[in-house]
Symmetry: C2
Subunit: 354 residues, 2 copies
């Protein structure tokens, strides 16, 4: 299906020099409008496709990407993103890519400013970014645009920032899907529990907020009579505090047998249920992190919705690579699939596909 | 994370000529055991990773792959596999790959023999193969082994054929998962319908057979009292014949409101239900082909289980490419994910991920 087209043949056909063809191909100046048009017509006619790998390898330039993530503990969504990003760097090891992670405190302007100034000082070729507070994020991305540094957004799609690309789940729709699946197992229950995590009264991420909005939207439309009881497990608290909150909740609400966790910590509830031998309560949660998968296998979590954090990390790096090194066009909005995992299909879940 | 290691540096360190290093790297003969060991020790010490893309491009050899598939109509699983395989060839267009499809009649020895003899005559670099009858398939794969031609199996994993790689779903487990999800919507029903397609009394594929085995296994274990009624829509019949069969079934079985199709033709039932205005019957089917997706959106199909045929086609070609052109090791068994699609999440389904 392919056959090599030589630059020489293009030059002969267009009646120009090899140097002119080369300048057109690499979008360099000093070509007359007429010559450019003649070359472009021949390229089109011959259906010329540049060998992007060969060009990139020949050019042999170093590229350094930076990834700005919220600080996190292990077993979290962010860790999966890191692993995916590292894998992508390894996968493209022939192309002299390098990457550095810089962390910031969410909801803390100074911390984010420090992170992005450190990043700018190191002259990134490309940036992967989880948005912080709107104004802070804006300051950073404006500077990136000024300096012609492409950036990929994770987590929340903010079109006004004009990113090169976005990777994330449609959180609202994912919340609707979660409600549908939870109610298939909750059947005719009168009340369900929603577990949230906040810090100083704020939800930790836009994503979790939007999932809850989607969840409540679906419930209101299809199950308006089902009561939704909230349980809040504040971020960065001790396990004992969580256990006390859960013990009190389930003791005072024996009618509740179904929960949803809109964050990646369904396993906190799952392990509590296993430890206190409550076998008649089922959870739907997010993210295939190890502890969640364990609860799924042991039966305290019925379903997990995958978020493909590993794939998001991998694809973000690969998108920067394709745009910057291979000079390809890349898609702007990339919504992740909304996948349902139970103990029957989890063994076939792929963190990524190449 | 990477830095270029020059062959010259390796030669100096090992105390051999550049030519010797080159011969070791490309596994060519005429190197003394001692020199080979010295070079290999230096490669290991320096953590040398060959630039496989550069080597492959420099070598500039043509490769032709062949894909042996059952004859099929459009809107089928096989068509998705073809599209994926073609995409993979395009994706690797820098590497002079070519591909040809050859078709055979399933369950027909002569037809399969003709197909594989045609393939062998054309001297394939690599083969993608859907197994036919066991003895016929064996004859072909034995010849491929004799001639050192790697092959990838699709559809059924047959380890005794010693393929380079396998892509497909775990059909048994996928049948179990289908049963679990169908019974979440069927709840307390006393009977469900299973739709099958046969030709001359035989199931068209091993996969469909195994899905049914998994489905019945799960039902027997968890819902032993639910009756499973069979409907057979013989392959290659007219739509009118199907409609008559379905009309009779649903008229004589008003108690049935839930069906499973273990093949990719749930839309035959779905469209019948829409056309006859039976809105109280729900189907679970396989494969995200266009007509199935349409029924899902219109509500006659509740769930589809994805089989990732497009990804299977893509990955089969890419595996041959990685093994033959890049000389990389490739994984042997690749089970596809078992994904559930409803109208809430189908818009986020990915035919493939790269």
């Amino acid at each position: 299906m392919t056959s090599k087209i030589r630059i020489k043949d293009i030059a002969i056909k267009a009646g120009v020099s090899v140097g002119t063809v080369d300048r057109v191909l690499h979008k360099r100046p000093n070509v007359s409008k007429e010559a450019r048009e003649r070359v472009e017509a021949v390229l089109k006619e011959m259906n010329y496709q540049p060998n992007v790998y060969a060009s990139a390898l020949a050019y042999n330039k170093k590229h350094k990407f930076f990834c700005l993530l919220p600080k996190h503990t292990s077993e979290a969504y962010w860790e999966e993103i890191e692993l995916g990003a590292i894998k992508a760097i390894e996968y493209r090891r022939d192309f002299q890519l390098d990457m550095e992670f810089i962390y910031f405190d969410r909801l803390n302007s100074q911390s984010f400013a420090n992170a992005y100034q450190e990043c700018l000082k190191k002259k990134p070729s490309g940036v992967i970014l989880v948005p912080s507070l709107p104004d802070d994020t804006r300051k950073f991305t404006d500077t990136l645009h000024e300096r012609n540094i492409p950036f990929v957004l994770l987590d929340s799609y903010l079109p006004e920032l004009k990113p090169l690309s976005f990777f994330g789940q449609d959180s609202f729709q994912s919340g609707c899907f979660a409600a549908k699946m939870l109610m298939l197992i909750a059947r005719d229950e009168k009340a369900i529990m929603i577990m949230k995590q906040t810090k100083d009264g704020l939800m930790a991420s836009k994503q979790q907020e939007n999932r809850e909005v989607g969840f409540r939207h679906y419930m209101k439309e299809h199950y308006p009579l089902v009561k939704i009881l909230e349980v809040n497990l504040p971020l960065e608290e001790k396990r004992k505090v969580y256990e006390d909150v859960l013990e009190e909740f389930f003791t005072t609400h024996p009618e509740v047998h179904h929960c949803i966790a809109v964050n990646s910590k369904a396993h906190i509830v799952g392990e509590f249920l296993l430890n206190t031998n409550r076998r008649n309560i089922q959870i739907l949660g997010y993210d295939v992190v190890h502890k969640n998968a364990e609860c799924l296998r042991q039966g305290s979590i019925s379903f997990l919705i995958a978020q493909h954090a590993f794939q998001q990390g991998f694809s973000s790096v690969d998108t920067l690579f394709r745009a910057i090194v291979l000079k390809k066009e890349v898609p702007l909005v990339n919504y992740m699939p909304i996948e349902l995992l139970s103990k029957e299909n989890i063994d076939f879940y792929h963190r990524m596909r190449i």
